[in-house]
């Protein structure tokens, strides 16, 4: 589904990613873990077009997406969440989710400016879809609320709903469990398992319980290099990973 081959990223003389090659198989939940500053977020940003690789290739469904701009990815079927939630504060929850389907819009600004009937219809369909997904996330009661009024874990759920409304083929999740409670993490874990295999998931996360539970495959990044990969069981017993990242106490 997604493949990075020999990706190098250098920012002001510092090598942040050093020949990173990794694969995200179709239909899997793949985890990317590693210490802070290892380059996880940078790897994510390379895939989503915020950062350009100095060398190496990123391919999605066999096609290179090295030079694709961030806003074009949604159209290709890649959707992502942001670490800082990134909801639009002056838009309602429903409007936020509706914008998630932007890539499905066909109407241009000319037909928009005349509010032609088919534009209207298209918008009603998107609205319907957004309401449905909010209902599925049991968020329909806060549909008209402003994101700022909601507790942080709920905001994260809205952001996830927004990422899913476009029905992506690949979902990039940036620390979905950061700052949310144990209850929500259980919910999240169940949801992720439901998503596959229709939707492939790439997950950056520090919450090891979640990663170990849901991931089919884990890549470990340290100091810009991939140091290990494998199933959760393999990662758990990998000595390099223990010293670089997990620490003895976490495993025991």
């Amino acid at each position: 589904m997604l493949e990075l081959t020999g990706v190098d990223v250098t920012v002001s003389g510092l090598k942040i990613l050093d020949g990173v090659s990794m694969k995200v198989p179709a239909g899997s939940i793949t985890g990317l873990i590693g210490p802070n500053g290892a380059g996880k977020t940078t790897a994510f940003n390379v895939v989503s077009g915020f950062v350009r690789a100095n060398s190496g290739t990123v391919t999605f469904k066999g096609k290179s997406i090295n030079h694709v701009k961030t806003h074009q990815l949604a159209k290709l079927g890649i959707s992502r969440t942001l670490q800082a939630v990134g909801l639009f504060p002056t838009l309602t929850v429903l409007e936020n989710v509706m914008l998630g389907a932007t890539s499905r819009n066909k109407a241009g600004i000319l037909s928009e400016s005349l509010a032609l009937p088919w534009v209207d219809k298209e918008q009603r369909v998107i609205r319907q879809k957004s309401v449905e997904i909010l209902r599925r996330f049991t968020l329909d009661s806060v549909m008209d609320a402003m994101p700022g009024e909601l507790p942080y874990p709920t905001q994260k759920k809205v952001a996830l709903a927004r990422a899913l409304v476009s029905e992506p083929d690949l979902l990039l999740l940036d620390e979905p469990a950061g700052g949310v409670g144990a209850e929500e993490i259980r919910e999240l874990s169940a949801l992720l398992q439901q998503l596959t295999p229709e939707c492939t998931v790439l997950l950056v996360e520090h919450h090891m319980e979640l990663v170990m539970e849901v991931c089919d495959l884990i890549w470990v990044l340290d100091a810009g290099k991939i140091i290990a990969s494998g199933t959760p069981a393999q990662i758990r017993s990998n000595q390099d990973v223990l010293t670089a990242y997990l620490g003895e106490a976490e495993v025991s």
């Binding site: 002001s12 510092l14 590693g34 210490p35 802070n36 500053g37 290892a38 670490q83 507790p151 942080y152 874990p153 620390e175 950061g178 700052g179 949310v180 409670g181 144990a182 209850e183 520090h206 090891m208 670089a244 990242y245 997990l246 620490g247 106490a249 976490e250």
Partner: protein, 234 residues
């Protein structure tokens, strides 16, 4: 050292903290744990003077802190390390550190910087580089280092583990314990990561929906299964 008595904070209609009382003695870590939205950060910000409580008292070193501005609290030795690795990205590491103790004499500043660099050798190596070049864990170290520049007697650590790798979390929390013992600091630690926090703390306080539901020795709380299920979710 630090006494909080019946502290109540509300945002408009919403009550974020309700009659919270606790104390943080010198020489040990006092951990405040609880799920998200329990009011932990609100507590820290109120103690630091960044938000004004509706009622209740905070006394530090025997004197009441009502009406004392944040910067004055810092000068008296009550220093907050806020959530989210707050450093000034456009400043060099050294400038970030100097900022923490600007009102002190140059001599004292130099001495404290040397002390921080002893504690965090990774920072010393790059003291002329911008803080934006640091990793998350190093930035957290820098934030703690900046707080130490003020020669605090009481340190407020707000979620130092947020977004950090398990290994770094362990190091940072162990450092907090070490600082409390070696420098005889009072450390009030707010954490979501209850397991690790209770491991380094002497006393634990469980906060739920703005109220203290439990107050006791950290080891007891960690051992209490029912409680863990009810409030900490593991």
């Amino acid at each position: 050292m630090l006494h909080i008595h019946n502290l109540t904070v509300s945002y408009g209609q919403v009550v974020a903290l309700s009659e919270v009382s606790l104390e943080a003695p010198r020489g040990c870590v006092t951990a405040v744990i609880g799920a998200n939205g329990a009011g932990k950060s609100t507590l820290m910000r109120a103690v630091a003077g960044l938000i004004i409580p509706k009622s209740g008292q905070v006394t530090f070193d025997g004197s009441d802190l009502v009406g004392v501005a944040t910067d004055e609290r810092v000068r008296r030795g009550l220093v907050l390390v806020p959530e989210g690795r707050s450093t000034i990205a456009e400043f060099t590491i050294e400038e970030n550190l100097r900022l923490g103790g600007l009102w002190r004499s140059r001599f004292h500043q130099r001495e404290s910087i040397a002390g921080v660099f002893d504690l965090f050798p990774a920072l010393a190596k790059r003291h002329k580089m911008l803080a934006s070049t640091l990793s998350g864990g190093e930035r957290q170290q820098l934030a703690i280092g900046r707080a130490l520049m003020a020669e605090p007697t009481c340190l407020l650590l707000d979620e130092p583990s947020l977004g950090l790798a398990p290994l770094i979390v362990q190091q940072i929390l162990e450092l907090a314990q070490q600082l409390a013992i070696e420098k005889n600091l009072a450390i009030l630690l707010v954490e979501q990561n209850a397991v690790t926090a209770l491991r380094v703390a002497r006393t634990g306080i469980v906060l739920n929906l703005g109220e203290v539901v439990l107050h006791g020795p950290a080891q007891q709380i960690a051992a209490n299964k029912d409680l863990r299920h009810a409030y900490l979710g593991y």
